[in-house]
């Protein structure tokens, strides 16, 4: 069966589309630590790549992109390598567990069953975590508008509790947390990040909020550390898929061409923003992705015979709207990041000009 896999024909349209989606996805990744996969995989499948090739090629472009972005953000002092590597190793285990669950569902309910399962996970995780992240971003924004000092990163009550627990023999110091935390709290977080990554391809939707709200890391450091986790997971995933011979290197490298431009820009963007902007972008993307899923669900339910059958035309229309909403999620994120970057650069330049003027008068 494996031998029947065919790699798609490359033409100018395919290459341009993958380059652009790669660029936007890269920008979001450089900024919030993950993203892009949920648009890239469907985009490749729309162009005709079999599902497994799309997933494999996406992972093969993800690990080099993640390390380039992580090194960039390391220069800005955002990366906690120790936390990233430890979470990455357990994420790898989570990914394997996620794969087993997926195969089990596939064997029992077929492809539609797995699609429904993925949609269900999407909706539940994104509703809970996305809502929480967005509410937090809004609260920080309001406090800033009211003149409060939000420069100081505030830890949640949960994070303060996690940092207060002392379990002998498991304590480790992490620079991002500026505290010792028991590895026993990090293991389930890493595991969940990997399990989510293997089902919806975006583990960062658990990893980043987990590091912020459970462990107490600042959002900027959490999003940068997620890149290390993505690298460890991506490398492991690529080795597995490459062993099966299902990676289309051409596709992966075309996406990488665009995404490395985006990643650099997204990483530069983080140096101009405060913590709440990272949370805002993440929250907006998560909630938009959540809505996109509602358009797929009727199709799956009808295929499984759980609701009255819907026509082929309606099915295609709903899927197109769903894919469009996904693209919109990424585009929205990209617009907010670019806006923040340009605004930040203009303000920065103005400040420098004022300083230069003051210097000039003093001379």
């Amino acid at each position: 069966m494996m031998d029947s896999i065919s790699f798609i024909e490359l033409n100018a349209f395919n290459v341009t589309l993958l380059f652009i989606v790669g660029f936007i996805g890269g920008m979001v990744s450089g900024f919030i630590g993950s993203g892009g996969a949920f648009v890239l995989t469907p985009a490749m499948m729309t162009l005709g790549a079999p599902g497994i090739v799309a997933v494999a090629s996406n992972i093969a472009h993800k690990f080099p992109k993640a390390i380039v972005a992580a090194l960039k953000r390391h220069k800005y002092g955002h990366v906690d390598w120790k936390l990233g590597i430890i979470m990455g190793i357990f994420a790898e285990l989570g990914m394997l567990a996620g794969k087993i669950v997926m195969s089990g569902i596939k064997d029992t309910y077929g492809d539609t069953g797995t699609s429904l399962y993925v949609s269900f996970i999407f909706v539940v995780v994104l509703a809970i975590v996305g809502g929480f992240v967005l509410r937090d971003a809004y609260k920080m924004y309001r406090a800033e508008q009211a003149g409060a000092d939000v420069h100081e990163h505030k830890k949640t009550r949960l994070a303060r509790w996690v940092q207060s627990v002392r379990i002998p023999g498991t304590m480790m110091y992490f620079t991002s947390l500026k505290a010792e935390v028991s590895v026993l709290f990090i293991i389930p977080l890493g595991f969940a990040t990997g399990a989510l990554a293997s089902s919806i391809a975006v583990g960062g939707f658990i990893g980043v909020p987990g590091m912020i709200y459970v462990l107490g890391a600042p959002a900027l450091m959490a999003s940068a550390t997620e890149l290390v986790i993505a690298f460890v997971m991506g490398l492991g995933g690529t080795l597995l898929y490459a062993w099966d011979g299902v990676v289309d290197v051409r596709l992966a490298m075309i996406i990488l061409a665009g995404s490395l431009f985006g990643v650099q820009l997204g990483a530069i963007g983080t140096t101009y923003v405060k913590d709440h902007t990272v949370k805002l972008v993440m929250g907006v993307i998560m909630i938009t992705v959540l809505f996109s899923r509602f358009f797929y669900i009727p199709g799956y339910l009808s295929e499984l015979g759980l609701i009255a059958p819907i026509t082929e035309g309606t099915h295609h229309l709903l899927k197109a709207v769903g894919d469009g909403t996904l693209a919109l999620a990424l585009l929205l994120g990209a617009v907010i990041i670019l806006g923040a970057l340009l605004k930040g650069m203009a303000a920065h330049r103005k400040r420098h000009e004022q300083l230069a003027m003051v210097d000039g008068i003093e001379e």
């Binding site: 490459a242 289309d248 290197v249 490395l260 650099q264 101009y272």
Partner: protein
């Protein structure tokens, strides 16, 4: 927008190297498909190609994109480490 000449030179050098790599990729596109097919057929020696190729591309193309934005004046703000 101010162009940074030092970064521009490096962007041109890495850009040329990146273009060369992508030219080779398109030239040997069929070969990459062949490697994948051979891997599926059991010749596992080729399985490292999808790991090595992305590493090489990300080194060269990553350096190019960094100098590219730098040359265009897209620089990070000084001192913001998320505090």
């Amino acid at each position: 927008m101010t162009i940074n000449p030092a970064s521009l030179n490096k962007a041109i050098i890495y850009g040329a190297a990146s273009v060369a790599l992508y030219y080779l990729l398109f030239l040997y596109a069929d070969k990459t498909i062949e490697w994948a097919t051979l891997t599926r057929e059991g010749q596992k020696i080729y399985f490292l190609m999808p790991v090595v190729i992305p590493f090489v591309f990300s080194l060269v193309h990553g350096a190019f994109t960094a100098y590219f934005w730098d040359a265009l004046g897209m620089k990070p703000a000084a001192q913001n480490n998320g505090k």
